[in-house]
């Protein structure tokens, strides 16, 4: 079973509170920006693989906010140690969602190494996340979301997805000073 990515992200939207920070990367980011544009979307990740580490920095510095990471599977494979770092950092406000499409989607859709075998949930569980689970059915994912986001973090959720509707890839925006300033201003408004 597999979920359309935009359906999975749309299911998440009602559970994202106004004060929550959302860190999103690559196609999940482009989809999210269209589906749920908001000032506390953190899009300036800079280097592939670094979303979870940005999320950790935000979670440490903003303990009164939830930090929701929309990571990519190819990205996570570049920074697997971050799972251990996060699990060891003592953050309870970090929620790590993985769009597991098993390909490098924005770079030509080449398969991940070990695409049909990699167990991301197992990685997070053995790293020490408080919770780690996978969903391939939208109904079950939707049903579980409020419980996941109410549980103490760090929580890891692998969403087994395929591309849904195609949203434009606005690289200029995610790397722009405007995007960073918008986020900074929203964060510091309190």
């Amino acid at each position: 079973m597999i979920i359309d990515r935009d359906a999975a992200l749309s299911a998440l939207i009602p559970h994202v509170a106004e004060r929550d920070i959302v860190v999103a990367v690559y196609q999940s980011c482009f989809d999210w920006l269209q589906l749920n544009p908001r000032d506390l979307n953190y899009v300036a990740v800079g280097a592939m693989g670094q979303a979870s580490s940005h999320g950790l920095g935000l979670a440490l510095a903003n303990p009164d906010r939830r930090v929701i990471i929309l990571d990519g599977d190819g990205s996570l494979l570049m920074n697997l140690g971050a799972l251990v770092t996060i699990a060891n950092a003592g953050v309870t406000n970090l929620y790590h969602f993985l769009a597991a499409n098993r390909v490098y989607e924005v770079n030509g859709a080449h398969p991940l190494p070990g695409a049909d075998r990699v167990d991301f949930v197992g990685f997070a569980r053995s790293a020490g996340y408080a919770g780690s689970q996978s969903f391939g059915e939208l109904d079950l994912f939707t049903e579980a979301l409020p419980y996941i986001l109410a549980a103490p973090g760090p929580q890891f959720v692998s969403m087994e997805v395929r591309p849904g509707q195609s949203y434009p890839r606005d690289y200029d925006y995610i790397h722009s000073a405007q995007a960073r300033q918008t986020f900074r201003a929203a964060l510091n408004r309190g």
Binding site: Y42, A44, V45, G46, A47, G49, Q50, S53, H54, G55, L56, G57, L58, L60, A61, N62, N79, G81, A82, V84, T85, N88, A89, H175, A177, R180, F183, R184, L187, N188
Partner: protein, 182 residues
């Protein structure tokens, strides 16, 4: 790993900076968040004391570029942080520093032990290629850096940190001699 030159018996004895004084300057700079991977140059004099100091929160990382992102993200609400690592980790993190520190103009402040540098020689005089290239690489990337090896070199730490945050750009402190654990 960096090969360390064999110390010659006739190498001059030089003074080393005080780790306690460096830590005091780090605190004076308003830094309470330390993000680190162990580095043998700064282990005894800085990282162990910091790890036992309740005024700091130490986040231990698995790879240095994680720290670039953590410190950069922390800066959005003004939280000051210091990333500690060895120059090998700095070299391994150049793309993250390029993107997050330089392209995004974020104040990522780093303290980097020059493992393999001879204490009595300047970095550009070192027999170690891995040490000699650090300054030129940072210059090529237009990243501000300063050297800490004489005891009095530590005095500029608070101002350099303040400038990095005021101007929202990285700064690298290069530790050329192992700080003493006192």
């Amino acid at each position: 790993m960096v090969s360390a030159p064999n110390p010659t018996p006739d190498a001059p004895v030089v003074a080393h900076p005080s780790g306690a004084h460096i830590i005091a300057r780090i605190k004076e700079a308003g830094i309470r968040e330390i993000v680190a991977l162990p580095d043998i140059v700064t282990s005894d004099g800085l990282l162990w004391p910091i790890s036992n100091d309740p005024e700091f929160r130490l986040t231990r990382i698995c790879k240095e570029d994680e720290g670039v992102s953590i410190c950069g993200a922390m800066s959005y609400n003004g939280t000051r942080a210091l990333l500690m690592m060895q120059q090998t980790g700095l070299m391994d993190s150049l793309n993250a520093i390029r993107a997050i520190g330089m392209d995004y103009e974020l104040p990522v402040v780093m303290m980097v032990g020059l493992q393999g540098k001879e204490p009595h020689l300047r970095p550009d005089q070192s027999a170690s290629y891995g040490v000699r290239i650090v300054g030129p690489v940072l210059d090529a990337m237009e990243i501000q850096h300063s050297l800490i090896e004489e005891p009095e070199d530590i005095d500029h730490i608070p101002q350099a940190v303040a400038t990095a945050y005021a101007e929202s750009r990285p700064h690298v402190f290069l530790i050329g001699r192992a700080p003493e654990a006192s």
